[in-house]
Symmetry: C2
Subunit: 256 residues, 2 copies
């Protein structure tokens, strides 16, 4: 049987420790091909590069492993990976391990999860992995056996069309991870509080800042799982339509 | 009764004809405050600016109308609009009129709709407007009475928490728009076909290209409505969880 072909990307850039940890696991499960941004692309969400040309740089290429950087976003990396590097659809796309959680509302800003959602739109099973620790030297060691198990399960079972997975690991500070919980996204948001400053010319400028506001105390949420040292796996749906509101909206008076 | 406070943004930039057309309508319905990117930001999706400072530039300020440009993305513009310009939540956010459709899967790449989704996350009723015509000198005249009617309805009825609206206008080439249809997103995707070139140094580069692939022929879709000269209004849900898949996933063997 052929080994599965697995495309790996992220949004922290190809030199981040997180993607190296993910690659080490995935290489044991199939042919691994890394196509990742050449610089950090956190917060780029689902951005695509349309107004400037894209470049691909081959870093390494052997029979079992290939590694490329690109000057685009995580979504560009998936598209380049499929169409230029592989010239076919991979069996799986994995993204991460992100330095920082992509639980709850963070999915919408995340380049890591945008790569996963793009893959799902393209009909490729895909999983995002994130660790709730923003530091460059985060300890990924406890996440690795879970990643192996989850990737094996996905390769064995597949994922239904239109669904992808968002996997977030807790920061446990030396304690043991307690297991995996299937979750829903917590309903939360970022409460902005711009840091307002003046430049040397006395002109205002602003740093986007803020704090995470979670009012959703449900024990079935990803936030609850992380706070209680569980791995949170959330099935994500690539369908923005609010189907339950369609019949009500049909009763509105919308024609002029 | 106080006039409603309406924040206006877009992703084509503050000088695009589409935002000027939208502003002209909205100014008749409330106090209009424009906070929009100072340059085109199409395809920026839900990107936020975290690694460089943001600037706001006041272009015009009267009792009934204010206009600001910013150097950030559409999502940054919403955040700056709420927190720095208005220092309160507006009663409504409108985004557009986008030069080009944001129907179907395009919502995921769209800065116009990202601004709308961000507003919804912040608890503000919000509507995106797009015309299926990419040209700079697109004719917005037929859209204006529909926009007025839809904005009036939303101000009167409100929108339930967690829902926002995606309104797309057909390109009719002089014919009449046939009315408004409440739709779901068509299930479609962009089939990439990179334009592969060599630079003068014989190095490869790639332009992201491709064509829109719609395999969803449902007559309840936004694509069907646009093709048949209807305005498509799609209620959008800010909830990525695939709730229907949670119980199945709970039966998977995920613990290592």
């Amino acid at each position: 049987m052929n080994k599965p072909l697995i495309l790996i990307t992220n949004d922290d850039g190809i030199n981040a420790p997180g993607i190296k940890a993910l690659t080490d696991v995935v290489r044991t499960l199939g042919k691994a091909v890394v196509v990742a941004p050449d610089k950090p692309m956190s917060g780029m969400s689902h951005a695509v590069t349309m107004n400037s040309p894209l470049r691909l740089h081959c870093i390494q290429k052997t029979r079992d492993y290939e590694e490329y950087s690109c000057n685009g976003t995580p979504v560009d990396a998936v598209k380049l990976g499929e169409k230029i590097v592989l010239r076919r659809k991979p069996d799986l796309v994995v993204s991460g391990i992100n330095h920082g959680s992509n639980s709850s509302v963070n999915i919408v800003y995340s380049g890591t999860m945008a790569a996963v959602i793009e893959s799902s739109i393209l009909g490729i099973p895909s999983i995002g992995f994130s660790l709730a620790d923003f530091s460059h030297d985060a300890d990924f060691s406890q996440t690795l056996p879970f990643i192996k198990k989850i990737v094996e399960e996905v390769l064995r079972r597949g994922i239904p069309d239109g669904i992808c997975f968002n996997v977030n690991f807790p920061m446990v500070n030396g304690e043991a991870i307690r297991g995996v919980k299937v979750c829903r996204q917590a309903k939360a948001y970022w409460e902005e509080s711009f840091d307002e400053r003046k430049d040397p010319h006395q002109r205002d400028y602003f740093w986007l800042s803020g704090y995470f506001q979670n009012l959703d105390k449900g024990e079935d949420t990803d936030e609850w799982a992380l706070a209680n040292h569980f791995v949170a796996i959330t099935p994500i749906k690539v369908d923005f339509t609010a189907h339950h509101f369609i019949s009500e909206l049909q009763n509105w008076d919308l024609n002029n």
